[in-house]
């Protein structure tokens, strides 16, 4: 089958611009990128569906355009609308909660990434010499108090967990403040002249 170069070129441009926007941090731009990539993909299906032709109705005498890809594209158009509506709601919510339109770095991911990679070695198997210890029917005076030992182990575990959390908190906090400082939108939000009023509903 033959290729229409114009359509391929337009598709490549749409894909490139779409991906460029998808890689942005502004959520609105990501949405725009998503829409472009959606259009590009529909165009891809159109390109590979073959030559243009008459509209696919029964009884047409001219060669028809392939109807099957058209059904796919129709489905894809409507789903793209559904997903972009969802993204818009996401943007609105993010703005309402955090006054941010930015996909931020996941601070915990970064903290985990920066962590020291040394791993505590498995503890040697410290085998007790009993399952009953002081709970035995006629325990010898040297028997081990297992309940006490379990308590100690648990305390040690909690202590380790606590230390880990502390470390994580210390690493995450500076990141958090840094990302807030880098947020330039805050000032604009307070200035009402910057907010576009596009319907007749509100001043």
């Amino acid at each position: 089958m033959s290729v229409s170069l114009v359509l391929v070129a337009v598709m490549a441009v749409l894909y490139s611009c779409g991906v460029y926007l998808l890689l942005e941090r502004s959520m609105t731009r990501v949405l725009l990128g998503f829409l472009l990539v959606g259009n590009a993909t529909n165009l891809l299906i159109l390109v590979v569906s073959g030559r243009a032709g008459a509209a696919p109705f029964y009884g047409e005498s001219d060669p028809l355009a392939d109807p099957l890809p058209q059904a796919f594209v129709l489905t894809s158009i409507v789903i793209t609308f559904g997903v972009s509506a969802f993204l818009m709601a996401l943007i609105y919510r993010s703005w309402r909660l955090a006054h941010a339109d930015v996909v931020e770095d996941d601070t915990e991911d970064v903290a985990v990434g920066r962590r020291d990679v040394s791993v505590a070695a498995e503890p040697e198997i410290a085998s007790d010499d009993t399952e009953f210890g002081t709970r035995a029917t006629a325990a010898v005076s040297t028997a081990v108090d297992l309940a006490e030992q379990e308590r100690l182990e648990e305390a040690e575990r909690l202590e380790m967990l606590h230390r880990f959390e502390e470390q994580l908190r210390r690493e995450v906090e500076p990141l958090d403040t840094a990302s807030l400082d880098a947020e330039p939108l805050d000032a604009e939000r307070l200035d009402p002249d910057h907010t576009e009023s596009t319907d007749g509903d509100r001043p």
């Binding site: 290729v3 114009v6 359509l7 598709m11 441009v13 490139s16 611009c17 991906v19 460029y20 926007l21 942005e24 609105t28 731009r29 829409l35 472009l36 165009l43 390109v47 590979v48 073959g50 109705f57 029964y58 009884g59 355009a65 109807p67 059904a71 594209v73 129709l74 158009i77 409507v78 997903v83 509506a85 818009m88 709601a89 943007i91 339109d101 996941d106 991911d109 985990v112 990434g113 962590r115 040394s118 791993v119 503890p123 198997i125 085998s127 009993t130 009953f132 029917t137 325990a139 010898v140 028997a143 297992l146 182990e153 880098a182 939108l185 939000r189 907010t195 009023s197 319907d199 509903d201």
Partner: protein, 981 residues
């Protein structure tokens, strides 16, 4: 036999509930099941003696030659008796070992019973894959049982270690089993061994040799043979009844069983003898040596078990008739005395609160019965004359002596016989020494150690070990009989030069000489225990694979941490770039190797494509540079409308129509969100990233272009859709092929799409509404008018003079929209209100027309729904949320639900008439006035689509429109209140 397996599988499910009611008394109850299996196996004895092997087969996956096949021959019969008999005794013992207050008792009882059943299944399975399933299941149950004390770290670590080592070995074994079974064309274990025995399987072929070695690796790991031996002592963190059963009598013997099972056919495999003889002897010596050092009685027994398992591997793998007979005798003797000894240690621990022999003193005098039970078992373990252990050891030594002297029939030859003999003699010396140490450590009086306190001995607690220990002694004189019972197994090997029979007394022969030597030497070792332990302390550990294991696991953890910190940057653009670059790399590489390029190139289908495409490309590039939100929304709209035009020129009127409508709705939704965001598009990447992003995105674009060209070039056959127009007309009764494809031919796709839309709409609503997504559109009181008469009366509204020039006083006038007066006067546009008022109903009628006309001309449910949605959007834009509430009196959720119900109902209904799902029916009739009417059921499907699309648009309007308005008003009200106070 299969029936028992079913019982074993089902009963554990109810055991936890039963335990809540019965407490520890549940153990004797569930012990009845293995006991019944034991009795049943006994009833099979006549058949076994007659040389037949009861078999049951239920086909499972015939294509893979897999079946639920069980078969009981002599070897399986013996193992089944050991497994069920000792299983029942251990379960009974548990009733005294635990208290009702024990944590997780129900789980423990359930798992132990399930394990018993699995073990029974393992020894009777005749399908290698069934065997493998049981094999790995025992590992999993063993993991759960070792980790019974979930609160203790030692338990958890040991459980995991045992699981990793044995399942890894099991997986290696699976590879071997597949390599054996697939070329042989059968997965039946008995067939495979028979094929190997009569030469149909070439053992020297590399594939078969490798397969057998791999299977042996599995067996060795299960039986804790060097280098896998370290998991067994660690597994002693399990409750002692578990150690007695799993780690002495049952699970660890599985490896021995498998070796014994394969030996008649496969012992001639190259590598078999060096591997088993070498590792077995090494394990026997290392285990015995270590056992001599232990102070914990249970660990002493554990290392003793490691040693004995090595011993068993040497004997069962040896491959002569006498060795085979000795092997099964030793298997039986070992199971009896080792399980009994573990149970004895459990009683000691239960009583004294310690198993450390340095803390125990005078127990023999305080607990004479226990001491006797312990002593009988130890004598058997050490191979003292007139015990079962002695009989078995005599047979072993006689077998090896015979082989060394060249009477070994098909065995590995004389040199191997000598090596085995010397090794086993040395190992037995160590066995005698640690046996004596055990007896002394557990029961003797020691100077300077506090004596154990007297306490009443529970006879029933002692029952299980006593039965086992006594049978070890009672069986000894009967072993000639036992030998005859078991003869079916060794008789599968070629006969040795001399016939050997099990018995207490064979006269003063070489075997007795060696036996006496080991006893004396062992006792000497025990006698000189102080100097021996000094010597041991100076020597470095001989084989320390547990450290290797530890280092491997730590290394794995560290690698995981490194990989995580290298890849987890927390940046979505980074992740996305990696994904896209991978896409470009892999698909690009495939494209480079591609040889199909289109035969024909052309610039365009029509020059209009150039113009439209040019505009779209410019808009797209401009979009990347846009820094105002509203401009960006318009630019993306340009590409969307451009798409519609391209569709139109391509011959796709449905697509063009839908694309225009969707683009409009998207633009409206976009604007609704944008009005709450700052006008400028804020943060961008720093310029350092810009180049990288450009490279990534351009390469994706170029790659996709290449994909399109290659995909088109690869199309050589006539498209399937050539048949679609006729199909649509004759079957779907519609002329619009695309529409028929959507609602009929590929209706499932559309049904899936509707579900996606509903999910998206629900997502939008729940992101904005937060609490409840039910209909909460505000209502104008006037709008709720029921009677027809009041509906005909015009709505009046009050107008203040300020905004209507020419009217002096506030007056009333006829309203254009129902909720107009809810708007602030300065926000009202009378022109908009009039236009919407005039258009709304007409547009709704048009949408219905598009819906029904779609079957034969452009349109359909999607387009119709979007048109109706636009009409609603118009009402909202002109009159705000109150107007939307008046225009859409139905809840969006209900529209979505009814729509999906209609579509799914149309899909499912044909099933009730015996047709395939989504089959459409067609009616036509001539009705007066309306004329000839045709109706297909797929139209109902389209109505469902129509409703879902309206619901989706309505959800967007009331979420991103009405609810956002309300939240904004709420916020500004609060602000005002704050400023007035």
């Amino acid at each position: 036999m299969l029936a028992f397996l079913v019982v074993f599988a089902l009963v554990p499910l109810v055991v936890p509930a039963l335990t809540r009611r019965l407490g520890r008394r549940v153990f004797p109850v569930i012990a009845l099941i293995p006991a019944a299996a034991f009795v049943f196996t006994l009833t099979q004895t006549p058949k076994i003696l007659a040389g037949s092997a009861p078999t049951e087969v239920i086909p499972w996956i015939p294509q893979l030659e897999m079946s639920f096949a069980v078969r009981v021959d002599t070897l399986s019969w013996l193992l089944a008796l050991i497994v069920t008999g000792i299983g029942a005794l251990v379960l009974v013992y548990c009733a005294w070992y635990f208290t009702d207050a024990e944590e997780g008792l129900g789980r423990f009882a359930s798992v132990l019973l399930a394990f018993t059943g699995t073990m029974y299944g393992l020894v009777i399975a005749d399908d290698v894959f069934l065997l493998f399933i049981f094999w790995e299941a025992t590992s999993v149950f063993s993991y759960l049982l070792i980790g019974h004390y979930t609160g203790r770290r030692a338990s958890r670590v040991a459980a995991l270690q045992a699981l990793i080592v044995t399942t890894a070995g099991g997986l290696v074994m699976l590879v071997g089993l597949v390599m054996l079974a697939v070329p042989a064309g059968t997965s039946r274990l008995s067939d495979l061994v028979a094929m190997a025995q009569d030469g149909r399987l070439d053992l020297a072929a590399p594939l078969v040799t490798t397969a057998v070695i791999l299977v042996l690796v599995g067996a060795l790991s299960k039986s804790a043979i060097i280098p896998f031996h370290f998991w067994l002592p660690a597994a002693m963190a399990a409750p002692t009844p578990v150690s007695a059963y799993l780690h002495a009598a049952a699970m660890v013997q599985a490896g021995i069983y498998l070796v014994a099972r394969l030996a008649p056919g496969f012992s001639a495999t190259p590598g078999w003898h060096p591997l088993l003889l070498g590792l077995g002897l090494a394990t026997m010596l290392v285990g015995g040596w270590r056992a001599l050092r232990q102070n914990d009685l249970k660990l002493l027994l554990a290392y003793g078990t490691v040693s004995q398992l090595g011993f068993l591997i040497v004997v069962t793998g040896f491959g002569t008739r006498t060795a085979a007979l000795a092997g099964v005798a030793l298997l039986l003797a070992h199971a009896l005395f080792k399980a009994a000894l573990f149970l004895v240690v459990g009683i000691i621990d239960h009583r004294a609160g310690t198993r450390d022999l340095r803390k125990l003193s005078g127990l023999g005098r305080e607990a004479p019965v226990l001491a006797i039970v312990g002593m009988l078992s130890v004598l058997s373990m050490a191979g003292v004359p007139f015990t079962a252990g002695f009989v078995a050891k005599e047979a072993v030594l006689a077998g090896f002596l015979g082989a060394a002297q060249g009477a070994g029939g098909a065995g590995p030859g004389s040199a191997a016989g000598w090596i085995a003999l010397v090794g086993v003699a040395l190992g037995s010396t160590l066995t005698v020494a640690y046996s004596a140490r055990f007896l002394w450590g557990a029961f003797a009086r020691k100077k300077g150690v506090e004596k154990v306190r007297p306490v009443h001995e529970s006879v029933s607690f002692l029952a299980a070990p006593a039965i086992l220990a006594v049978s070890g002694i009672v069986l000894a004189p009967l072993f000639r009989l036992v030998g005859d019972l078991l003869a079916g197994y060794p008789n599968r090997f070629p006969p040795d030069a001399h016939d050997y029979h099990l018995g207490l007394w064979h006269g003063f022969d070489g075997a007795l000489l060696v036996s006496t030597f080991t006893l004396l030497a062992g006792l000497t070792l025990f006698w000189a225990r102080t100097s021996v332990s000094t010597a041991q302390a100076k020597l470095p550990p001989i084989v320390n694979t547990s450290e290797l294991y530890g280092r491997t696991m730590t290394g794995l953890d560290r690698l995981a941490a490194r990989v995580t910190s290298a890849t987890q940057r927390g940046s979505l653009p980074f992740y996305l770039s990696i994904i896209l670059l991978t896409l470009v790399g892999t698909v690009g590489a495939t494209l480079v190797m591609n040889r199909t390029w289109p035969a024909e190139w052309r610039l365009w289908d029509s020059p209009a494509q150039l113009v439209i495409g040019g505009i779209m490309a410019v808009a797209a590039v401009a979009l990347t540079r846009a820094d105002k939100r509203f401009a960006a929304a318009l630019l993306v709209g340009v590409t969307g409308y451009g798409m519609a035009a391209l569709f139109a020129f391509h011959g796709a009127p449905d697509l063009a129509l839908t694309q225009v409508l969707v683009e409009t709705v998207t633009l409206i939704a976009f604007v609704l969100v944008l009005r709450r965001l700052p006008a400028r598009l804020g943060q961008t990447h720093g310029s350092a990233h810009r180049g990288v992003r450009a490279v990534v995105s351009v390469s994706v674009g170029l790659m996709m272009a290449a994909v399109a060209i290659v995909a088109l070039g690869a199309r050589t056959h006539l498209p399937i859709s050539l048949a679609l127009p006729d199909l649509a007309h004759d079957v779907g009764h519609g002329s619009n092929v695309v529409n028929v494809v959507l609602v009929d031919v590929r209706g499932w796709d559309t049904l899936g799409e509707l579900s996606v839309l509903i999910a998206a709409a629900t997502g939008v609503a729940s992101l904005v509404f937060l609490r409840s997504r039910t209909d909460n559109l505000p209502r104008v009181p006037d709008a709720v008018r029921r009677s027809l008469r009041s509906r005909l009366r015009p709505v009046r509204e009050t107008v203040s003079a300020e905004y209507v020039p020419g009217v002096k006083d506030p007056s009333t006038r006829n309203a254009w929209l129902l909720a107009g007066l809810k708007l602030a006067p300065e926000n009202r546009s009378i022109l908009l209100e009039v236009v919407i008022r005039l258009l709304f109903h007409a547009v709704v009628v048009v949408s219905v027309f598009i819906l029904f006309a779609g079957h034969n001309s452009p349109g359909g449910g999607f387009a119709g729904g979007l048109v109706a949605g636009l009409a609603l959007a118009g009402r909202y834009l002109a009159g705000g949320r109150y107007e939307l509430g008046a225009a859409a009196p139905v809840d969006a959720g209900r529209l979505l639900g009814v729509g999906l119900l209609l579509a799914a109902g149309t899909a499912v209904t044909p099933l009730f008439f015996g047709a395939h799902a989504l089959t459409s029916a067609w009616f036509d009739a001539t009705i007066p006035v309306l004329g000839h009417i045709e109706f297909t059921t797929s139209t109902i499907f389209d109505v469902g689509v129509y409703l879902v699309v309206i619901g989706m648009v309505l959800d967007v309007l009331r979420s991103l429109g009405a609810e956002v308005d309300r939240q904004q008003e709420e916020a500004s009200d609060e602000l005002e209140e704050g400023s007035t106070i």
